[in-house]
């Protein structure tokens, strides 16, 4: 089973967000970057589990600059066999999707897994773009993935419920909670990751159709209004009259 897992680099979840250049650029100073949790905990670990039981190869793919190699090495330490880095700034979702599709065409993968979304830009759209570019089935927000022969069975979340679906390989899926349990790389994995192949390739040249023009921080929350624990009538009154929430 040859699996391609798309991985991205995001600011650590506890990062305090700020901007520079007149609010047009994310301030990376002092920010700790991590592998996007959905990519790491779910897509990658499930891919490695499937490889462990069925054989084959897990390739991780990242569109980004050389400073992304730290998170790529982490993915290799968790168990991916090799990596591809498309040497470009991930300008926007379509730009990245085109790069992924290009690499996917160049290999022969039975599955292309992504995370449900990146925790920085929260797009949740790349999977659909990649699937359409490659004319493949797409299962979004998958919380289970099992494989038997050339058929994959996936569970997909819908509002207030779930769907269980079957698709024939190859296909694209985005992974979320439930698909696997996070793994911590062990010493052996970390040592081995250093000698695993990491192929750096140039991007295909396309114009990104969208651009971030400006950022804004949310307005500061005012001081919390404290209500005495034995006066819940007052809380109800405020929720009704002031907040108009009930």
């Amino acid at each position: 089973m040859n699996i391609l897992v798309c991985i991205s680099k995001v600011p650590d979840t506890t990062t305090k967000i700020s901007f520079t250049d007149n609010n047009s650029k994310f301030n990376e100073a002092g920010v700790q970057f991590i592998l996007n949790p959905y990519d790491e905990w779910y897509a990658l670990v499930r891919a490695v589990e499937i490889r462990e039981s069925l054989g084959g190869e897990v390739t991780v793919l990242n569109v980004g600059r050389a400073d992304n190699e730290q998170i790529i090495r982490k993915a290799l330490a968790i168990g991916a066999d090799k990596a591809i880095r498309v040497d470009a700034d991930p300008a926007d979702a379509f730009y990245v999707a085109r790069q992924i599709a290009e690499q996917a065409r160049a290999g022969s993968y039975e599955m292309i897994l992504l995370g449900k979304e990146t925790i920085d830009y929260n797009g949740s759209i790349l999977g659909g773009m990649v699937a359409e570019l490659l004319d493949l089935p797409y299962i979004s927000l998958a919380s289970h993935l099992d494989v038997e022969g050339q058929t994959a069975t996936l569970t997909r979340d819908i509002e207030g419920g779930k769907e269980v679906l079957q698709v024939t390989m190859p296909f694209v899926a985005s992974a979320q909670k439930g698909m696997a349990e996070a793994r911590i790389p062990n010493m052996r994995g970390i040592m081995m990751s250093k000698s695993k192949p990491l192929n750096v390739v140039p991007p295909v040249d396309i114009a990104p159709p969208t651009r971030i023009e400006a950022y804004q921080l949310p307005p500061e929350k005012g001081q919390v209004k404290l209500i005495a624990p034995d006066n819940m009538e007052e809380l109800v009154r405020l929720l009704h009259e002031e907040a108009k929430a009930i």
Partner: protein, 324 residues
């Protein structure tokens, strides 16, 4: 220029987010002095379709072929793109929900359109065509421009309040050329929870509890509060991870991101990853026995006290409020 909106029907019925998307598209059309057309795929009553006119669309296209009864990302994409072409739509609007997330990227690629997902406001046209959306898990907003002539926008649920007018839309059958290979996923099983609770992403009122509740056996007072309010229940991540509550209730950075009118957090400390999923809530109430809990900094109203005493009192107060 025209605007096409995918008006989703689930089990033959429109949802709250459907009206929001239709209203958004109609407002957008007004902004550009053009008209908005809705497209519904799958089973739907003619009366429900015509009623979308209340939210400002003049026409509703209905793709009702039997094979379109179940959601299919590829086939639905083709139908939406064909309708956009047939209407010469420059803007296509979808909802940023489960099916919308499966469709938006596909539709954008098919139409060679730039896409902004999770928009929370109508486009700003002061300079170009830009949309506002939350980024960094709600810790900031970005204004994103679309450079292409054609545009796809997916709208976050609960971002705007649709106002119903008195219009009625004309309903037209719509058919797109589809092949068997467009139906590339086989539905094995579909499970939906009891229909009398509003699913979390759409809920306007949410009662959420955390590890402060000590154990699953203590959730009775949480459920009673939620039932009294007509709210949907949610929980923090460790609560779902230890199996005290089902996984679909987990809100936060790695769970569901929600945007209700009212979020009541009980026995939740307010870790940054939890806040990431709830900080778009309009009003936040925090009940916590520790006055130093970080959640109070993000709250509008706070009660420093023991949940086991405060929650039943709040439920009582709500009951008398509802009865008065």
């Amino acid at each position: 220029m025209a605007v096409l909106v995918y008006a989703e029907f689930v089990d033959g019925k429109p949802k709250k987010s459907t009206f929001e998307a239709v209203y958004y598209a109609a407002q957008l059309a007004k902004q550009f002095q053009t008209s908005a057309v809705a497209l519904t795929i799958g089973p739907a009553d003619a009366a429900d379709l015509a009623a979308l006119g209340q939210y400002g669309v003049e026409k509703v296209l209905h793709a009702s072929e039997a094979k379109l009864e179940q959601f299919q990302s590829k086939a639905y994409t083709k139908v939406i793109a064909a309708a956009a072409d047939a209407q010469s739509a420059d803007v296509v609007v979808l909802t940023h929900n489960s099916n919308g997330k499966a469709l938006a990227g596909r539709v954008a690629v098919r139409l060679e359109a730039g896409l902004v997902s999770g928009a929370i406001a109508l486009p700003d046209t002061a300079a170009g065509f830009t949309l506002r959306k939350p980024v960094f898990s709600g810790k900031a907003f970005a204004q994103i421009s679309i450079q292409t002539g054609r545009k796809v926008i997916s709208v976050n649920p609960n971002s705007l309040k649709p106002e119903a007018g008195s219009g009625s839309a004309t309903v037209e059958a719509f058919q797109a050329a589809l092949q068997d290979s467009d139906f590339d996923a086989k539905l094995v099983k579909r499970e939906t929870m009891s229909t009398d609770v509003v699913p979390l992403p759409e809920a306007e009122l949410v009662v959420s509890a955390g590890r402060g509740m000590k154990g699953p056996e203590n959730w009775g007072i949480i459920e009673e509060l939620a039932t009294t309010l007509g709210a949907t229940t949610a929980c923090s991540r460790p609560v779902a991870d230890t199996g005290w509550r089902p996984h679909h209730e987990h809100v936060g950075q790695t769970g569901v991101a929600i945007k209700p009118n009212l979020y009541i957090a009980i026995g939740i400390s307010g870790a940054i990853q939890h806040l990431a999923g709830v900080n778009q809530s309009k009003t936040i109430v925090v009940i916590n026995k520790d006055s130093e809990a970080p959640f109070f900094k993000a709250a509008d109203y706070g009660v420093v006290g023991d949940a086991f005493e405060v929650v039943p009192k709040l439920t009582e107060a709500l009951k008398s409020f509802k009865n008065s």
